[in-house]
Symmetry: C2
Subunit: 254 residues, 2 copies
């Protein structure tokens, strides 16, 4: 069995965040699979096949790529950011578990990347400098009640919260409901960072507070970081503010 499958993280939009390992894995593939806009970021070389699919078709894409690899080809599936964070690596594992035994014999490699929360955090300072969690707001794959329970647990225990998949046309109210939920636990002055399209030419980074956070200013390409009660903002003359969460909990010397 010579088939190979690499699940490759492209990082957020900026090509300067694509690792050399990811670059090499893309170049080595006979065929590339992925969501169209991610594939558009990859320079396809002559002779390399390109299979674009919609972003709601992760399971079908994983199965198609595994079938192709099982024929002996070297395949790369691309993900934006890191493939292990709300992305293709889990979809591939699910397909392998449910699929034929031949798929378990394949050489499968996951190539990590810079995930969106790290890129957005870097743009503003160090909001993830203390304990934090990453939570998908999509209730396509879990009940909304569970999202609320996790928001409550994370906020009350003092985790900074990175929200992936905050809003879409099919899920218009969830982000507003999440902000409402978090306002029950966190001070109105808690810093909130809305990072849209980090690393792309249309990047927009906004720093606001939980009291003022407007779900209408987020879209599918936005990653949101909600601070903990310890997260701070440093005003800077002529520069955007820095947002960070101190390493030490108040009262403990650093």
């Amino acid at each position: 069995m010579s088939g190979r499958l690499a699940v490759v993280g492209l990082g957020p939009g900026d090509a300067r965040w694509l690792t050399p390992e990811a670059d090499a894995a893309l170049a080595a593939a006979d065929a590339l699979y992925g969501y169209g806009p991610y594939l558009d970021r990859v320079a396809v070389r002559p002779g390399q096949a390109r299979h674009a699919s919609d972003n709601r078709e992760e399971s079908a894409r994983a199965a198609a790529a595994l079938r192709h690899a099982a024929e002996g080809a070297s395949i790369a599936i691309v993900s934006g950011g890191d493939p292990g964070v709300f992305a293709m690596a889990a979809a591939v594992c699910e397909a392998i578990e449910a699929g034929p035994a031949t798929w378990r014999a394949l050489d499968v490699t996951i190539v990590p990347g810079v995930t969106a929360m790290l890129a957005v955090a870097a743009r503003v300072g160090a909001p993830l400098g203390h304990d934090f969690c990453a939570l998908s707001l999509s209730d396509n794959l879990k009940p909304w009640e569970l999202v609320e329970r996790r928001l409550d647990a994370a906020a009350s225990a003092g985790f900074v919260i990175a929200l992936y998949n905050p809003i879409s046309r099919a899920r218009p109210w969830q982000l507003g409901a999440a902000f409402e939920r978090l306002r029950r636990q966190l001070p109105p002055t808690t810093p909130v960072v809305l990072g849209r399209a980090a690393g792309r030419s249309d990047e927009q980074i906004a720093v606001t507070t939980l009291a003022d956070a407007d779900p209408g200013s987020a879209d599918m390409a936005t990653l949101i970081i909600v601070g903990s009660a310890a997260t701070r903002t440093i005003a800077r003359p002529g520069r955007p503010p820095l947002v960070y969460t101190p390493r030490a909990v108040e009262g403990v010397p650093s």
Copy 2:
């Protein structure tokens, strides 16, 4: 004020995880600051100064680098992994907030990187494929009772848990206590991944269960991922098992 400070993430040990942006930021610096073993991974060019310090001296290192930048130099501070995750970016922000006004006028850039939990997750599959949190087990900067509260909150709400700074000579019992605490909430079969020195020549990745997880097999260079009750292991003939957390919560169609 022409001084510049870049806080640069090197990624975990493998140079193939160093992003082009990080590479460029390192090359552009007049002087490099960092923990010695991280600096050893950087090719110092002629004329570039190198200031190594101990890993317990983050605050002093941040202040020294800021002072140097305020003299008009272009400085890079290096971090392993991502500088925003339990690393130098927060230490720099703390120093800026506490320091002289001139430090707030500096051009400060954070260069993100692949953080250890993403690299370790990639080695085994997709354990972070669903909601997860990152928690430092060090009680140097927060009380142990708070660590326990966060472990309880994260495990009971169904987050996968990545543990940073699990153990050191000065903190020998904390990881064992954390496993004990998690055993109260999670099934004994919960997958646990111990990823040591990911990307380095002495890399060791082990997959076990919460019942069998042995704190003695971890050290300072180990990143640990404790699954949720939903995390699964796929046995593969002739290959290491895959560990992943399904995207969908049981009962919700994917």
